[in-house]
Each structure stands twice: as C-alpha cells, then as structure tokens.
Amino acid sequence: MLLEQVEYVRPQSLDEALEILANDDGAAPLAGGQSLTNVLKNRVASVDVLVDISALGDLAGITRTADGGLSIGACVTYDELDRSAEVRQSHWMLGEVAAHIEDQQIRNKGTIGGNCCLSDPTNNLPPILVALDAVMELRSRSGRRSVEAADFFKGYFATALEPGELLVSITVPQMPERSGAGYASLAVGADAKAMVRAAARVTLDRDHATIVDSRVVLARVAHVPTRDAEAEARLNGADATDDAVRAACAGVADGMQPITDVHGSSEYRRQMAKVMARRAVDQAIAAARGGRNGSSAGGN
C-alpha cells in the first residue's frame, strides 16, 4: 500500500533524535514499526517525519543494574528479551511473555518500548511490567524523568509521554527473595490477542507457606493494565494454598466494566478475569517456591 507522503530520518544520536522531536509536532519515533506502519497505511494519524530510533545505541541492550535489577533499552526486541540470559535468570516470566507475542517476524522487529508507548490494551508486555514494578525512563531535550509503569499507561493509545519525549529504557527492579511471577491469558487462539489477561507477582515468607506481598494486574478489563488493590490486600497475609488463593481471587474485577465485543460479553470477561488472576497467582506461587523467578509455567 502506498503511504501518504512522509519524511524519514535516521538520527545518529539520542540528542539529535530529541532535537528533531522537540522541533516538530508532526515527528513520530519509529521503533519496530510493527504498529506504526499499519497506522500510516490506515492513515489514522498524520506524520510529517518518521524519526528512526531503532538503531540508536542509547536505546539498545539489556544491562544488569547495581542492585540486581535490569535496565532494558526501549528498542530491545521481543526476540532479544526471549533469548536474553540475563532476563531469563532474574525475570524469567518477562522473557516468556515476549516469547509468546504473535510470531517470529513480529518478535524480530517489535520493541519493548513500542509495545508500551502504543498503549494498545491488547499488547502483552504492559501488564507484566506493571506487576514487576517497572519504571519507565523518559528523556526530552529539556531533561529526564522516571514514571512508574502503573502510572505510565493512561488510556487507549495514551501514555504519560509528553510531546517531544522518548522512552529511553525500562528499569525492572530485582525481585525480592522468594518471589515469583505469573501470567495467564484467555486467548482467542494460541499466541493470539487475549480477551482477558492477568499478571501476578507474589513474595512468600521463609516457610513458603504465607503470601507476604503481591501484585495482581488485570488487562483488557479496563482501558489500561490495572492493579486490583483489593485482591492484593486479601492475598497479603493469606496462606499460599489453592483454597486461599481461590477465595482471594473470587472478588477480582467486581465493580469493573470490561467491554463487550464479538469475543465475549462484559460479564463473561469479568468472570474470566477471576480465573486468569487465580491462575497467574498460582503460577507465581509455584515459581516462588521453585526459586526460579516465574519459571514454573509458560503461557501466553
């Protein structure tokens, strides 16, 4: 398909990219292009200049932070996340979620930064990043700031990014000891878009018997990945048993109004959110016991 007339530039440095973005309202960062190219084809957004950030060194690579967390460049691809020994060692589930995004071609191009900045509610990475307490590192010509993942996603295709700002990297803190992560989706087909998802993280006590801290994040239930604070409160201090988790997750998504669409009604989604949350928490507990940071079970 022929796109509308557009300019293209491949800046040589982050500063050069930020300068172009600051000076031109019609400038759009081009990362993996696995969404933006379709946006341009559909002509739903008008872009004057595509600023190709995909090869910038400042946005590349995965490094271990001093305190044992990860710093992930915004242009790291899903395939790189999947194959990263660093990611698998400390945040196994993040690699696993990336490994199940759509297909190999999209995993070779799509980036963690693009997946977040698009803020498509069906995208796979935002909920797990919220569950892992990730922090988004933003840069603009005039400075830098950090925004917690839970505050970064603002709505359908809306984020905390200001005009001229780039997401440069994502910091994922080290998981506390005896922690694990889980991720469960109700997908229309294997590795396909999900109707409802839940991501979870739990920390267990020394005996692996009691949950001392938890995150329960729902996706596709509201417009953005949403922590269910009430479910977390019920889990914290609860026994790490099937029955206790089931009881704590029974009220998940109550009071929320998921959309109704061709794949399912609002009520069906609300019920399934409870099931996905329970599965994600169960996985997280198993992973915490197994000591492998979320490696007990796969799943899209």
Binding site: E7, G33, T37, Q104, Q105, K109
Partner: protein, 174 residues
C-alpha cells in the same frame, strides 16, 4: 542517512547482488523488492502484517517486508525466495515442499520457505511443535499445514538421523 527527506539513497545486497537506488521514504520494502527490483517472488497477501506472504530475511532476521520501509534497509543484506535456488537447483527445502505436496495455489509458499529457512538455521532439529511455532506468522488458505510441516521435518537434521537428535556418539556435532 543523517538528513530528513522524502527520498533517500539506499544501497543493499539482495541475494548476493549489490543494488543502489533512490527510494521514497514512504515506500515499503515489499514494493521496493517487487516493483523497483522486479523480484515478484515475495508476495503481498494482506498488507497488514498478518499473513506472512511477504516474509524475507534482512540482516539475518526474518521480517515481514510490508511492515518496514525500504529506506530503513540502507546497508542491509536481504534474502528473498529468489535466492534460495542455486544455479537452477532448488534448495533442499524447496525440493522437499515439491515432494511433500506442501503447496496448492502456492501463494503462501515464498513466505513459508523463508520462515522455514530461518527456523532451520536457528534450530536445525525442530520438534513438530517448534515447526508449527516457526510458521505461526504464515497463513496458508489451501493445505491445512500438515504437508508443510512434513516437508520442513523431512529436511531437518532430526529427520535426517532417523527421528533422533544427532548425538556425539554418532560422530556428528550436536
């Protein structure tokens, strides 16, 4: 490529041959290959990144050529389906598609071949499940995939060694 512009000079190596052209910034790689270079083996099925008919290998990475701009590939090495056969001899994978009746209308075949080529490069002994995952991004409306999986399995090292993973004892590297 420092300057912003609506057209850019691009030099790429396509199937071993260096080519230089001026491309419009808005030109998709698939149109550069088909319309500018006349390499019509790479197909357009959906133009939305869903079907995989346009799959090619750029700098060793399998990508959908309807989802990237030609201008982005300056300096890249590109492999298309036209590069698989050498001197008129089909590649083992192409031969296997032929033998196993892995195509009917053939529309998806160039993309399937590129995905399978990429898969076997990275995983010479895929399980059937890994083969299916490897062609997950390629849609076939005709075959039902069974013969495609068979064709790929037949040229994998797993098959070549009688269904078992190659072991060091058999005198080959694992």
């Amino acid at each position: 490529m420092g300057e912003r512009a609506t057209s850019h000079a691009v030099t790429v190596e396509v199937n071993g041959e260096k080519v230089s052209r001026i491309v419009a910034a808005r030109q998709l790689l698939v149109h550069f290959l088909r319309d500018t270079l006349g390499l019509t083996g790479t197909h357009i099925g959906c133009d939305t990144g869903n079907c995989g008919a346009c799959s090619v290998i750029v700098n060793g990475k399998l990508v959908k050529s309807c989802m990237i701009l030609a201008a982005q590939t300056d300096g890249a090495t590109i492999e298309t389906v036209e590069g698989l056969a050498q001197d008129g001899t089909l590649s083992p994978l192409q031969e296997s598609f032929h033998e196993h009746h892995a195509l009917q209308c053939g529309y998806c075949t160039p993309g399937m071949l590129m995905s399978a080529t990429y898969l076997l490069r990275h995983n010479p002994e895929p399980t059937d499940e890994e083969i299916r995952r490897g062609i997950r991004g390629n849609i076939c409306r005709c075959t039902g995939y069974v013969n495609i999986v068979k064709a790929i399995r037949a040229v994998s090292r797993r098959q070549a060694t009688g269904g078992h993973a190659v072991t060091a004892a058999a005198g080959e590297e694992v």
